[in-house]
Symmetry: C2
Subunit: 333 residues, 2 copies
């Protein structure tokens, strides 16, 4: 590894001068600057980040905490955030965390060791120790797609969005609607709440048997959820519509339906949530709730940047607009 001293020695100057050049500071004669620049170019010298972080007491890095088993939506989101953060000059470090105490503790320790400038959570924590730590050291933090008291959040109104999705089904004449949701994230609960709210407003029967909560928001568990629903309802001909808490869940559920000899949307209408890439290509194309993923990502990065630099207003919660995208998986009863 070529260090600042190597450059200084080769140039016959001091490390200070090299440092000034490397950081674009003034007060260096242009001939020396030229010479050093040339040496940097030749040797491919790049300042060591660890050493820099130590003296500067900041890392220009932000930590992005994401679920260990992130779904397609979350994957798209973190790419956007990463790119956006980069445009502000931050380097993004990813921290994968399971929804378990031990994994969270592990994640927290890694985070602590890094001396980050800020933290973004895409993923709520089971253990409040995490939030307490953020609070205690006063590190800038932002949450995306969910909120936690005291931390600025960027998200949509999950409950309302879910209710709207269900209302679409109701407006199509469906009277017997079921739902598959999941554990581990608040949005699973919120979307289920929206579901019940819409049912209530439509004056429909809302026994708990209408919702099954599965372990993961994936296609695999969507299929299991559907099997469970079919079992509960004794073969299933008695519901005509399904609301799935994510598009992946919806895709798996449609598979389960198909396996049981039911077609979508002829026999059962299905609405998903997220409007993930693949949703507009599967058969049938999915009716779903589109989250403004680009805006969520960009606003999250911006809010954190503001919070880090501190030279503008403290960012507040931002609730962004969603949109119901009607495609082929729903139809009138």
């Amino acid at each position: 590894m070529v260090s600042i001293k190597d450059i200084a020695r080769q140039a016959g100057m001091s490390a200070s001068t090299v440092s000034r050049v490397a950081n674009g500071k003034k007060h260096v004669s242009s001939d020396k600057r030229q010479r050093i620049l040339q040496l940097i170019e030749e040797t491919g010298y790049v300042p060591n980040k660890a050493a820099r972080a130590m003296v500067l007491k900041k890392t220009s890095s932000v930590g992005l905490v994401i679920p260990d088993t992130f779904n397609i939506f979350q994957r798209e989101l973190f790419s956007i955030i990463e790119r956006s953060l980069e445009s502000f000059g931050y380097y993004t470090m990813f921290f994968f965390s399971k929804f378990e105490d031990i994994s969270e503790e592990n994640c927290l320790n890694k985070l602590k060791a890094e001396n980050l400038d800020g933290i973004i959570l895409l993923h709520e924590m089971k253990n409040s120790a995490f939030y307490e730590y953020l609070n205690k050291i006063g590190i800038p933090a932002v949450t995306a797609t969910f909120r936690f008291p005291g931390i600025p959040a960027i998200h949509v109104n999950e409950e309302q969005a879910a209710a709207d999705a269900v209302n679409h089904l109701v407006s199509l004449g469906h009277r017997d609607i079921v739902m598959i949701s999941g554990d581990g994230f608040t949005f699973g609960r919120q979307r289920a709440d929206g579901f019940f709210q819409a049912l209530t407003e439509a004056d429909m029967d809302l026994d708990d048997n209408r919702v099954v909560f599965v372990r993961n928001y994936t296609a695999e568990f969507g299929m299991y959820g559907m099997r469970e629903l079919l079992l509960r309802r004794g073969g299933g001909r008695n519901f005509t519509a399904l609301f799935a808490a994510t598009d992946e869940l919806a895709i798996g559920a449609i598979r389960g339906l198909q396996d049981a000899g039911m077609r979508v949307p002829e026999d059962v209408s299905v609405v998903g949530f997220d409007d993930v890439d693949i949703s507009s290509y599967v058969i049938p194309r999915l009716t779903t709730v589109r989250q403004p993923i680009k805006e969520i990502g960009e606003q999250t990065a911006l809010a954190l940047h503001r919070s880090i630099t501190g030279n503008s207003v403290v960012p507040e919660d931002q609730i962004l607009p969603y949109r119901l995208i009607i495609r082929e998986s729903t139809r009138a009863v």
Copy 2:
């Protein structure tokens, strides 16, 4: 941030003693050790990684270079690698890179600044400067899913696997087979080569018009590719089977077929590649080539670990077995 000095001061001992305890070294009396451990617990002290890296001259971190627009297969793979690396005690840093000179240069600079213990590439580089750098500084490196001369690689025989996929189609009686592949990764070329090889062996016509290369390996581009193919073939009734270079491409292509009024597998059989999660849930379930993703990930981490510790044989190229998974998207003509 609580530092080693804070602990030392509170304990009334020297930093060395605290360091010894924090690193589980011997030669500390058990009462002092107790006291320090307690303090560490209370304060939540975690050694600063940057400072540690500086004196140790190693970071216990490995860089994982992945494509900016990673597909589902690559996403699954990097999770596995990350977990596996963690079990060896490494922290993984992700570096997203586009297949462009500037992005690669950017990525290389970040890499250099980090002083990594090793590097894993999931993604080939356009510019050879990248490989030259690895070589020059002699940093341990491993490539996964592709190979570059001089760097140990973990991968399947892409060409042979593709040929097998096509042979399956041939054995089903298909005589007019087309393909959608992509740019930017060698595997796109290799899978196309396997396609041509199988066609040759089956003594079939192999004009270049049979393959369309799209820009990305996503469902979106799979659909575009199919449209292009349909255009070329004047409406399309004259091919009965498709080989898609990835499952996502296959899903998009099936959508394109469906939109043109053709059904899979009744009118056209489709084979994908990768056996991504979603492939066993979509309609129709995809026939595809399964890469041993878990083994690829684990062997990659292991090979790098060996290369870093240097206390075992230098790892060599490993070619892992693939498997053709026959599901619903293919049938006899």
